[in-house]
């Protein structure tokens, strides 16, 4: 069964281009992305009937945010490898809350290379 990577970012372009790149680099990977302003709630809705092995999540999404999605992912698959890709700085309240929930969480500051994301997810060479 192919593994799945979930990409959630309320910036359409970011989500779209990451989807394309991961699809090219890892053709065996099932790439799912959400990218509207309500991307968070759409992702949580999707997770009700699906699980994911990897995830790249934006932190600051209106409504259902990255932390909410993270909790939903972990409830189904506690082995999922998740990274947060964010424009927020370290002092941001949302980052603090995230670290309070899980101090080992991987947070990558935008702008980051694909190589950095791949490495953090442990996906291995394409």
């Amino acid at each position: 069964m192919p593994k799945t990577i979930l990409i959630v970012d309320d910036n359409d372009s970011t989500s779209s281009v990451l989807n394309t790149i991961f699809s090219i680099l890892y053709p065996d990977l099932n790439v799912v992305s959400f990218s509207t302003k309500t991307a968070g709630s759409l992702a949580v809705e999707w997770l009700k009937s699906n699980t994911t092995d990897y995830a790249i999540l934006d932190v600051a999404i209106n409504g259902v945010n990255g932390l909410d999605i993270y909790k939903t992912i972990l409830s189904d698959n506690c082995d999922a490898k998740v990274i947060f890709l964010t424009g927020c700085h370290d002092g941001d309240l949302r980052i603090k809350k995230l670290k309070e929930f899980d101090s080992s969480v991987v947070i990558i500051r935008k702008v980051a290379s694909i190589k950095t994301m791949v490495s953090a997810l442990g996906l291995g060479d394409a």
């Binding site: 970012d9 309320d10 910036n11 372009s13 970011t14 779209s16 281009v17 990451l18 394309t20 790149i21 090219i24 680099l25 934006d58 600051a60 890709l85 424009g87 927020c88 700085h89 370290d90 002092g91 603090k96 500051r109 935008k110 702008v111 980051a112 290379s113 694909i114």
Partner: protein, 343 residues
Amino acid sequence: MLNHSLNEIPIQIIYFDNKLDSKIIFSSVNFLNISANCDSFILGMCKDDICTKVSTEKCVAKSVLDTGFMIESSHIFTEPLTGIIRTVRRFGFPSFDGGCYEIRIETKDPDVAKNTIIEKNMQDNFRLIASGINHEVRSPLQALYAYLEMLEILHNDKNDIFVSMRLELEKIVGILDSLGKFNRNDKSVSEYDVFSKIIEDTWKTVYITLLPSHPIVLDLDFIVDDFGDIVANIPKAELQQIFTNILRNSVEALNKKRSEISVKLVSKNEEFFSFLVRDNGSGIPNQILTDIFIPFVTSKNGMGLGLTICRYFILSRGGTIFVLSEEDEFTEIIISLPIRNGG
């Protein structure tokens, strides 16, 4: 940290005339009329272009070496000002036959005090805008960066165009990183350290970072006074950032065979200490000296945010910063910081 009551403002005056002893009388220049041994004074701005500048725009730091005076103020004086002297604190600096006074006054003019508050609000607003821009721009930039990576993958090629695009994008990220420095890292604001250790550690980092591009640091004399056990009342991370910016500027300005950067203690009392960072480099061009703390003003290839960040951190912690410079001769950054209790 200084807490100014509504009508109390600090004014700093640097003068270069050692004839002035117990009395501070500047009446001879018709720029400032003040006497330290009386309890009131009149401050007037009425001379040449200095007055015009001071009275028409926010005056951050003015170097007026030709007249022998410099005044630092975040206030706009359009009329002569009358007030009561609260404290007079003297600190000299060794490179001139003169000294520096901080005169804290209680003005009867609430508008002046209001300007102090406006200045603070402007700083806070700038920080908020910088933070907002930083966050919002990173997302589309991330997309651009990823698109570029995709092109590189598809073309399996790192041609010059891709390299140039990547460099330009990284410059934008650099600007955002600089703007991000206006946001204090909450985790680090409670960490303080001995002043001299912070200088040493920061210099090591700056040295290593700049060595490849500025081999002049190999022959550089870096001289630091003994600051004893002084602990400045400013978080370590902010002080490191201040020194990084200042020392980088100094190194980048060096152009002489016998290059030197020195950090000298100017004065110290129970509440404050003052020091200067001097380099004998190319100096700051006169045309930008008066605007040197304004964001994006620079004579180099950098972002022009370094000294703006320094000033922001220093003023927000109750300190002051001045710049003196003479082209092809030297630059001096004179900083006064509050001392941390027990430090």
